[in-house]
Symmetry: D2
Subunit: 256 residues, 4 copies
Amino acid sequence: MGQRIDLNCDVGESHGAYRIGADEALMPWITSANVACGYHAGDPLVMDRTVRLAVQCGVGIGAHPGYPDLLGFGRRQMQLSPEEIENYVLYQVGALGAFVRSAGAKLAHVKPHGALYNAAAKDIEMARAIARGVARVRSDLILVGLAGSVLIEAAQEAGLRVAREGFADRAYNPDGTLRSRKLPGAVIEEPAMAAERAVRIARNGSVVAYAGEEVSLRVDTICVHGDTPTAVEIVRAIRQKLEEAEIEVSPIERFI
Amino acid sequence: MGQRIDLNCDVGESHGAYRIGADEALMPWITSANVACGYHAGDPLVMDRTVRLAVQCGVGIGAHPGYPDLLGFGRRQMQLSPEEIENYVLYQVGALGAFVRSAGAKLAHVKPHGALYNAAAKDIEMARAIARGVARVRSDLILVGLAGSVLIEAAQEAGLRVAREGFADRAYNPDGTLRSRKLPGAVIEEPAMAAERAVRIARNGSVVAYAGEEVSLRVDTICVHGDTPTAVEIVRAIRQKLEEAEIEVSPIERFI
Amino acid sequence: MGQRIDLNCDVGESHGAYRIGADEALMPWITSANVACGYHAGDPLVMDRTVRLAVQCGVGIGAHPGYPDLLGFGRRQMQLSPEEIENYVLYQVGALGAFVRSAGAKLAHVKPHGALYNAAAKDIEMARAIARGVARVRSDLILVGLAGSVLIEAAQEAGLRVAREGFADRAYNPDGTLRSRKLPGAVIEEPAMAAERAVRIARNGSVVAYAGEEVSLRVDTICVHGDTPTAVEIVRAIRQKLEEAEIEVSPIERFI
Amino acid sequence: MGQRIDLNCDVGESHGAYRIGADEALMPWITSANVACGYHAGDPLVMDRTVRLAVQCGVGIGAHPGYPDLLGFGRRQMQLSPEEIENYVLYQVGALGAFVRSAGAKLAHVKPHGALYNAAAKDIEMARAIARGVARVRSDLILVGLAGSVLIEAAQEAGLRVAREGFADRAYNPDGTLRSRKLPGAVIEEPAMAAERAVRIARNGSVVAYAGEEVSLRVDTICVHGDTPTAVEIVRAIRQKLEEAEIEVSPIERFI
């Protein structure tokens, strides 16, 4: 780690007549794609199209399971039992896996979405339930979780490979947690600034926190949010700056 | 064929707090289970429980994909495009397949549900779309369709193995089609009568149609509807009569 | 209050091919019906049928809105914003109100369902959001909430009429809260015992708590759960005992 | 009729995080809004926001009920029973009506959406089911249907007021039916051309059909599709040309 990094983005979030995201424009610049599985976003046609696009672009493909809440886009916390979470994850990853195999590729990773990702970062029971669901699909899958969170722990306990995730377009607190979206300055929309942060994360294993301190941040993959208005510019800037800095940008499955 | 037959039933149709079917009571008597996949019925917990029960009972496991219409239980015709059907089938079969593999078993077959089954029996484009969806999951899957229908044709074109289905608890017209459920006498609820018909189907390859004529009916598997009030008695009677008649009752995957 | 009481039950919880509850058997014994509105349970046909049945039985009709979570039957907590709750309540109560008017009756009350009811009992912001949604439909509606909970407070603030609810088939803690369903003895399934408790609640304004202490419990309406196996026996026993004790059993709208 | 016309548009079609349509930009130019009701599109927050916007703009408000098929945006034919259609319409119109009353306005009309509109134009049983559902909400509602279709007939039979609809941005066949969207030239995207057609419809009661013949077309309201890329320009051009031609453009409820 350190001189190698993956760039991931959530894609395939359209649903029927509804379009979200600029998948075609983003895909050439990223190295891993997290594809929605029809619960909080996505649908079978969108999954098929998105997986084919990822294959064409040589991008690593992951499942992006979420809560069964299309109306809330999977961003609202739901109190599910561990058994529900485990089986909802298995269902969604299983469904996406069929599209990936049918496109001649292999599913590389799983990253929980939205409120499920947040619950998994803090609640070890939820994290373990996700890890069990993933391990039931294939024990060699990579589970992507917030660096330093309990999801990483649970994935390792379950014998899964893990990828620690950080954010170039989000501000950090001095303790290494993410600055709340409710506070000003939580999201970085300026491409050059996000790119500079990405290089520092990849090279130094650190970020400058909101108040100015340098905070250690060891990550394998950097997430760029596809729904920021400047998403395409940010991804392109990050990719270019990483390559100028001679940091290898490649899918997590190549180095985890 | 002729002295070997499979007995199949639609199972796993509960959803959340809602219960349908007597899966525990039926499973010991059948040889193949068609498990709902969450679109018209079923949910991930129900799928998990149902697949485990089928494995315990040594029953062959199939996916039972349907229209995305829980409110209509997949029984209302929907005009979907071939591309939608193909990908909805791939999604559902892919999801169920993950539960089956995770239970240490192998998915054996796919049988479309309700209005999708009926559309596939008559409309060659819909039948081909289903066959493509199934073949994209695994080319050695068995596709179960109404004996004599275009779904059998489409499955063979697609290079899939096929199982022709008949009904011991439904009356037939002289031309070998099913008597409409809207007409009296369409459903046979008397266990002994259903059992006698099953034996004739398996041994002679024929049924006595509603008006009395003997009609040729070559089938590999007999379906018993789990939602008739006397379903368990019917299945048990059929199983016993078949065994008394020294007809081998075994999962389709063993002889197709 | 004291010598007058309402008996309410949640009804109309079937959905499409799925049946829950014994509405026909329960309706003649209750005085108020809380009808599911299609979000956590129910559907337009079920709503229509249930409202007509309530009108035939002379039962007061209320809306029973819940979370948009059919898979969880509205029993799983969801973190919705107050604006979402307000508008989800308005939507559901509005829809049910149209069925009630079309049946020649008048919507009398609203009682939140499951996890929404529980959230509303503890969280004043959620309670206020519900009260706003109800008041936007009609300012003379009665809002039914757990006796002593913040929902009663929020409803009064909003200028709505309120009905305080208690349970004859649930054990109480010494502080007047409900004994958790996870603990043994939380649910009372014995009809005679439930009936005796109902009489005490209506006459004395008190219950005997789990550990034996008498606890004050002033309520306007007693809820009987329609999903206990003995539900019909319990409702009948309660109704008979109340009448033997010369307590008037009538719809809340008659005395609130 | 003839010198008075209404301009209507389908609005409120966003759902959760998904956005469709340019409601804010369109609303000032139209006189009637058809608001989606949560089945094929829309949700309670979107309904609330859209109704308030319509009230601010002085636009007549109608319900726009559709099939329960969000994934297909209500554009896929579903074989529902008349009883299902009647109650699905009642549910959706009832829900929207609550938002309209709560905004201090009065629901003026109902226009079925997509595949339901098309079914209602050809199938008298479906048309009657819709009319019954609408009449059960309020017998003085206006039902909007394709000019010359059986929905107009069914609405009149049911004692409802009717508004006949025509299209300025769609090509017509010589027999007065709409040219299929599958054929070239079916949709008119050029604002000036659509505006000219609108004036001719309003003034002369006719359109020039695809092959050049003048066809009689007596309508009360002209629909502009909000999802054409040039929708705002088209609506503005139509409105301006109609006013230049001294044709009164006002909500249908004012003159039906």
